[in-house]
Symmetry: C2
Subunit: 246 residues, 2 copies
DNA sequence: AATCAGAGTATGTCCTAACAAACGGACATG
DNA sequence: CATGTCCGTTTGTTAGGACATACTCTGATT
C-alpha cells in the first residue's frame, strides 16, 4: 500500500512545484504505476519525501481531486479513482479534439464575410450597435467524411482572419495566436433533425439526428470573443465528459 | 472601484470561512451589488477587512475563479466576469434540476425488476457474474408534458428500491438517503431520432429529434453505483454548462 | 516627442505552524 | 454478544510571512 512514487522535482524549473507533482502523479496513474483503487501515502509523508511543504502537496492533490483522478476521505486517506476516467470536457475546439486523437481533419470554408453584427450577435458578444464581426460557415471532414457544420461569429478587433487561415488552422488556434487567452465558455448541447440545407452538406438524409452545440467563449479580459452554432452528425459524434462533485 | 462588500463572517458557524466568503461574493454578484466587469479590491485588503488571512481569502477567490465568476490577472487585479454565467453542469439528476427550477415533475414507473445483470451492465458497474441489479424505466413529465424517458441499472447492495419510492423521489435522492456520496460521473451526450417505442411515450412523432445521455456515477468509495440511458425531447431539453480553462 | 527603465502594485508560489473534524478500529461496558 | 466510548490517523481549515513574477504607469533619457 505504501506506494513509493519516486517523482523528481526540479526546483530550478519555471514550472510550479505543485504542478510538477500533478504531472508526476498523472503520469504514474496513466502508466499504471499507481493502480486504480490503491491508496496513496498520507499528505504529510508524501510532502516530506519530496521535500515539499504540506500546502504545496495539498494543492497538487486538490487539482487531481478536482479533475477526478483522486478521491479523498477524511480520516481514511486518498486513493486513485477506479474505472477509466475520461478526459474531462475542456475548453477546446473540435479541431483540437480531432488532432489530439490522431485524425487529420480538413476544413472547407463555405461562406466568409466581414459584416455588421446583427442584434443576436451583438447581444451574444456584448457589442455596440454598428460593430462589425467576422461571420463564416465551415464544413469539417475527417477521413473524407463530413462530421460538423459550423457557423461562427467573431469580433474583429482581435486579430485579422481570412478564408485561407481558416482552411489550415482551427479557429481557437488562430485566436490564441492573436493573443487571446481563453478563460471560460458557456455552451448548450441539444438535438435536432437535419434539414434540407444541412443534410447534403453532411452527406446524410434529411430527418437524421444531429447534435447541436451553441457556444460563447470569453477571454481573460472579459470580452466575449466568439460565438458559434455547430451541428454534428449524431451517428458519429457525441460529447463525453467527467463531472466532479465539488 | 473600491467596491465595499460588507460581508458578514460568522466564526462560530460550522461553514468554513472561505466558503462563507464564496457565498457572500456569489450573492453580491447575483444581486448586482458587484457589477460584471468591476474590479475587486486586492486580496490583501479584502482579507484585512474581513479579518481573514490572505490564504483563506485566496482560497475563496480560487473557487470563484474556477467556477467562472471571477477572472484574475497578475499585477492588475481581480474582476467580475459574470455576464450571464449559467449554472455549471453539476453532478445532479434531472429531478434535482427541475425541482430547483420550481417545476413540479411527475414520474411514471413503466417497468421495474430486480434481475441478474447482463454483460454490459456488469461491465459498466464493475460487477461479478451473477450479481443482481435493479433495472427500471421511468417516464418523467413536467406540467403534464412528457420530457424524458429513462432506463437505469442500479446495484442492489446499497439500499432497497421499489416502485413506490421511484414515483415520489428522484433516483439520486433515494441513493443519497441510502448513504451514497457521489463523487464523479462520466457522461456522454448525443442525438438520435425517436423510434416507434419512444415517440408515443414522449407524445411526439417518430423521427423527431431526441437528446441522448448515458451516464455512470461513482461514489466516494469507488463503486460504480448507477448507470443509465436517458433520452429527452429535443425540442424542450438541452444541456447547458460553463467550461473553465484551468 | 518617442522610447526605455524603474517604481509600485497585485497576483503567484511556497513555507512553517497549529488546531479541528471525521473516520475506523480497539477496548471497555452492559 | 452487542453497543458505546476513546484514541490514533488522516484530511480539512486557518494563520502569517516571504519572495517571485507580471503588469501598469510614470519619469528620465535620448
Amino acid at each position: 500500500m505504501a506506494n513509493q512514487l519516486h517523482l523528481s522535482i526540479d526546483r530550478s524549473s519555471p514550472v510550479p512545484l505543485y504542478h510538477q507533482v500533478v504531472q508526476g502523479i498523472e503520469a504514474a496513474i496513466h502508466t499504471g504505476l499507481l493502480e486504480p483503487g490503491s491508496r496513496l501515502e498520507n499528505e504529510i509523508d508524501l510532502a516530506a519525501q519530496l521535500n515539499l511543504s504540506r500546502p504545496t502537496m495539498r494543492k497538487a492533490m486538490d487539482e487531481l481531486v478536482r479533475s477526478g483522478l483522486l478521491v479523498r476521505k477524511r480520516g481514511v486517506g486518498t486513493q486513485v479513482v477506479s474505472s477509466q476516467v475520461r478526459r474531462p470536457l475542456e475548453l477546446s475546439s473540435l479541431y483540437d479534439d480531432l488532432t489530439n486523437n490522431g485524425s487529420k481533419p480538413t476544413t472547407e470554408v463555405l461562406t466568409f464575410a466581414h459584416v455588421e453584427a446583427d442584434a443576436a450577435t451583438r447581444e451574444a458578444l456584448h457589442l455596440a450597435a454598428g460593430a462589425k464581426v467576422y461571420h463564416f460557415t465551415r464544413l469539417r471532414k475527417v477521413g473524407g467524411k463530413p462530421l460538423a457544420l459550423m457557423e461562427n461569429w467573431v469580433r474583429d478587433d482581435i486579430t485579422h482572419i481570412d478564408e485561407d487561415l481558416l482552411k489550415t488552422q482551427g479557429l481557437y488556434s488562430i485566436l490564441r495566436s492573436g493573443g487571446v487567452n481563453f478563460r471560460l465558455a458557456t455552451q448548450r448541447i441539444g438535438a435536432m433533425v437535419a434539414n434540407d440545407y444541412q443534410a447534403p452538406l453532411l452527406e446524410t438524409e434529411p430527418g437524421s439526428a444531429l447534435v447541436t452545440m451553441e457556444r460563447t467563449a470569453v477571454d481573460d479580459t472579459g470580452r466575449n470573443v466568439e460565438t458559434g452554432h455547430h451541428v454534428y452528425r449524431g451517428d458519429s459524434y457525441s460529447f463525453e465528459m467527467t463531472l466532479v462533485q465539488r
